[in-house]
Subunit: 592 residues, 2 copies
């Protein structure tokens, strides 16, 4: 399989041109965090991703995980890779230094996560999930719990998981039945079954800290009666040493379409009387605590999609350069297939959408940094609003788009793409879960409309649209497509958003029926906005002496391609959203 080539030049281009690194470095926590330091961090992370994680990706996919009643054995090489990962501290780059982490900004962790997911998504999910658990505990747990559990989780000696789903409770978390009963000594006994628990059991860490949603006795029904519990695999003594095995077990693992090396576990709590757990935060407020994890997890899944897209693109590009087949229009025989116009089209579709994801990921990450660290509350609020607005858009659009990008990578390989040996179909299989877990695309779209667009009293959307229009106007100074297409697309997005807002009160069902097309429209336009900014930066860069002209000219061309092949679809998506249905048809009729 093609080695993974960390996209350092593209990461650096986005960081230096689309972010405000001076402002980032002026935040109290990030002093000295300049472009050079970020580049060094990315370079080192890239070496680890390419050298340690990427070579394990395909063998681990073939091997899968090994379940037995005693537990789960992960694929060959994962244990050593995990040890090297935590020794280098790659598992906690964005955890505050006060908690024992590296204290790097989200901007750095976004870049690192992209590369780790590109190199080996199944593996990288394990430390990724631990990060989410750390964040939830940091936000909601008592000081005593934090003191006992956070240090080994931050160091990576212990992992963390999130346990939401039950057979009858998937998208509808409120349907959870898992029970927690006070044990009289301040603790709880949990009983119930959880499914689809990623990395719910493994052999990489000394202990596993499960964050589990469950119901207390007499709790209200639905989502308002769910509490969060910390349930360790091994009980933890006051001094932090490990005690008895807790009453929680992985009773089977799923046989899945993709991410074969990530154990997806059925977890049984309390089969022998009750799994011991601590309450985290307030009773019946578990969902709020879980949403701390969830929002970051959604962004991380979007970054996974970016990583897989980049990896698939690289593999397709490599194949297209090496594979010789057919002649070109100039009469040359047996040319590398990259010379064929449609192969170039496919590679460009992959590339421009991947670059749009990367730019958006880093812009959102920077906003997270400002939202968390900026001294002024109104600046924090503005950035938080942007992050909250963009989280469902980025997660939904990037994961949906990664299905196309990884599919195109298969297509570029022709028949070889359908043969598992080539390794490219793994990305297609691995990507397929992205639109499902951490909230399906429809859940993202409902969140976007219901909680973001409709309740946007602070006008975050209007501010964003104004930014987008300004970029389109700046682009229009040159006679290229991107400015025009972006202007039209932003207008289409604005009109669609306005109409959805107006119609929701009277036609909520019809609005939700076009929520996903609206989300995709939003994502494509946001990608075009970032392409506009990249093209403006490339134009400016070309004026400077010593510029890498090939690199910057390629950005101009790629931006035009995005305009002509992606943004051209925006008005049509808006038409779908704005739909005017035939007045004589009654859509409440039974269609199925």
């Amino acid at each position: 399989m093609t080695p993974f080539n960390p996209p350092l030049a593209d990461l650096r281009f986005v960081m230096e041109n689309l972010l405000d690194l001076d402002a980032l470095a002026s935040l109290p926590s990030f002093e000295g965090m300049d472009a050079g330091l970020l580049a060094t961090v990315c370079e080192e992370a890239g070496k680890f991703a390419a050298g340690v994680l990427a070579p394990l990706n395909q063998p681990a996919d073939i091997e899968g995980v090994h379940w037995s009643p005693a537990g789960v054995r992960t694929a060959k090489g994962f244990d050593l890779a995990y040890q090297r990962c935590i020794e280098a501290g790659w598992n906690n780059v964005a955890v505050p230094a006060a908690l024992g982490g590296q204290g790097l900004p989200c901007v750095a962790s976004s870049a690192i996560t992209e590369m780790f997911m590109a190199a080996n998504k199944a593996f990288s999910m394990c430390p990724g999930l631990t990060l989410g658990a750390i964040e939830a505990l940091e936000a909601c747990a008592s000081e005593a719990l934090k003191a006992r559990y956070l240090p080994p989780m931050v160091s990576g000696r212990w992992s963390g998981t999130m346990n939401l789903t039950e057979p009858q409770a998937g998208s509808d978390v409120g349907a959870i039945r898992c029970r927690a009963t006070p044990d009289g000594s301040g603790g709880y006994r949990l009983q119930g079954q959880k499914i689809f628990i990623s990395w719910g059991e493994q052999d990489l860490t000394e202990n596993i800290v499960h964050l589990v949603l469950a119901r207390l006795p007499d709790s209200p029904p639905g989502a308002k009666g769910i509490s969060l519990f910390l349930v360790p695999k091994f009980l933890v003594n006051e001094d932090g040493s490990l005690g008895e095995r807790n009453d929680v077990r992985c009773v089977s693992v799923e046989h899945k379409l993709g991410i074969h090396a990530s154990p997806t576990c059925v977890m049984a709590y309390g089969d022998e009387g009750g799994a011991f757990g601590h309450l985290v935060g307030q009773p019946n407020r578990g969902l709020e605590a879980m949403f701390v994890m969830m929002n970051q997890a959604r962004l991380t899944v979007g970054i996974e999609a970016l990583g897989l897209s980049e990896r698939a693109y690289q593999q397709a590009l490599d194949y297209a350069r090496q594979r010789q087949q057919g002649g070109d229009l100039a009469g040359n025989r047996n040319v590398p297939i990259i010379r064929h116009p449609d192969v170039r089209r496919m590679l460009l579709r992959m590339r421009v959408q991947t670059e749009a994801m990367r730019a958006l990921a880093l812009v959102i990450a920077q906003a997270q940094d400002f939202a968390q660290q900026h001294p002024q509350p109104e600046v924090r609020a503005a950035h938080l609003g942007f992050v909250e607005l963009m989280t469902p858009v980025f997660k939904g659009w990037a994961t949906e788009t990664s299905l196309e990008v990884t599919s195109l990578a298969v297509q570029v390989h022709g028949g070889m793409g359908f043969v598992e040996e080539t390794g490219v179909s793994q990305h297609y299989r691995d990507a397929r879960i992205g639109t499902i877990y951490e909230g399906t695309t429809a859940i993202q779209a409902n969140d976007l409309i219901g909680r973001k667009i409709l309740r946007d009293s602070a006008g975050h959307l209007d501010g964003l649209l104004a930014d987008m229009r300004a970029v389109a106007a700046d682009l229009a100074e040159h006679p290229c497509s991107l400015g025009l297409r972006l202007g039209t697309a932003v207008q289409a997005l604005e009109q669609a958003a306005r109409q959805l807002r107006e119609r929701f009160a009277t036609e909520p069902e019809q609005v939700l029926a076009v929520a996903v097309p609206f989300l995709m429209l939003f994502g494509q336009v946001a990608g075009g906005w970032q392409w506009g900014r990249m093209v403006l930066a490339a134009r400016a860069g070309l004026e400077r002496a010593g510029a890498d002209r090939d690199f910057l000219r390629a950005k101009l061309l790629a931006g035009e391609f995005y305009a002509e092949h992606i943004l051209t679809g925006a008005p049509g998506l808006a038409q779908t959203v704005l739909l005017q249905r035939c007045p004589s048809l009654d859509w409440s009729e039974t269609l199925f």
Copy 2:
């Protein structure tokens, strides 16, 4: 897994309303072939597909095929199913009665193929490939060869395969190296390796008849030096009895993303001195003979995509009706997910695109029947022109669309869709080969532009566009979206086609770079054209006493959905095709 439910009502609706069954029945070969008889044939085929083939689909996917040096053992149950298939004659429905087949029209075989592919694609490829080989032999082989080989192939006792691909010769068939040397007695000895040979070896039939492309000594280089050979697995004596094992062997099978139960073979010819073969047709004219198979095979692959789409839709629909999750806007808790607006949107996207494929498949099949059987040459020519124009459109568009449809089926299942046990991801995996084999989508698009649109001296495209416009005009008598959207979409298609024709001479590379978007535009508009005809038929049907009102009203609604969710994208695709690139950018620059 959901049982397969033969779509008899939808097939009958298309046959009775979009086809001219009276004209079909007036063709000499198809006397008495009225709607009732066609419906009976479909019903019986549907029973076989649902009862015998469909239950084997998932177990066979899990089991795969078993290779050993002695040969390939197919999945459990395939042998019995195959015997039942040929006993009932389902393998040769469209083979002329004079050759021992059932002599049914292509319209019937299209419907039957759809159902067989829906039920079990991996299995149904075997008789499907045999049909292609029969057709090529019938068209090109000597009477002596036909007499010896056709009867057992038509009866199904022997199968047929097509052997084109070699490691260095995929899309570029002209790069074939396999050699054939005259053996002095009128036969040939073949040496070389073929890859990706579907059903190249199996244990279902007594013999396998390989049609193999190879080069004669001193043949011209490239595509004009390729000849077609018949190479049986077992030599065949003059009396038709089987002789010695021929020097052709399956040396391995591929481990693939999908169609696990279809053996994809690496075939070695002549490792022990030379595989005996007969020349089929003229020396160096092998590609022409192979294209007889290829054109039908391309249509069949499109029908495969239709079948998989239908099957995936049924499974998603079934799950959406049974799975309860979340509440609806009316305040009901735990409703079947089919009540959620986005689940309905996904199901409708699947359904309307699947129905568009079916309508187009049957319209093309009817044109094949007229092209082959009509007494008047000019009528035959007109229909042949339509079939030739639509073959790449249908194959490319249906297979690409089936990737989306099968992906949506996974999505409707949520997390359960990612678990292989559910069986729905099999359709997603099985569909993925459709855009690759029998010519990738790019190959179809190049054929569409290079050989169909540019050389359309008879004006087949103009005639088709006029038909489409007429449907849009008829629809416009009612104030619904479909007429408007179709009118706009046809205009977009026409403009795009005109511009591609004009620009090809000066900018061939740029034209070929948008060939696939053009093909997709063409397919979507053609699907809209058929939806227009279905809606007109449904409106007319609703006027009649005793009509199935629910069935017909659903067609009106589905047609509107196609207009608002699919045809809305047509103008944007046309914009991509019509692209006006930035004059200051040089696209010949190295972008990669």
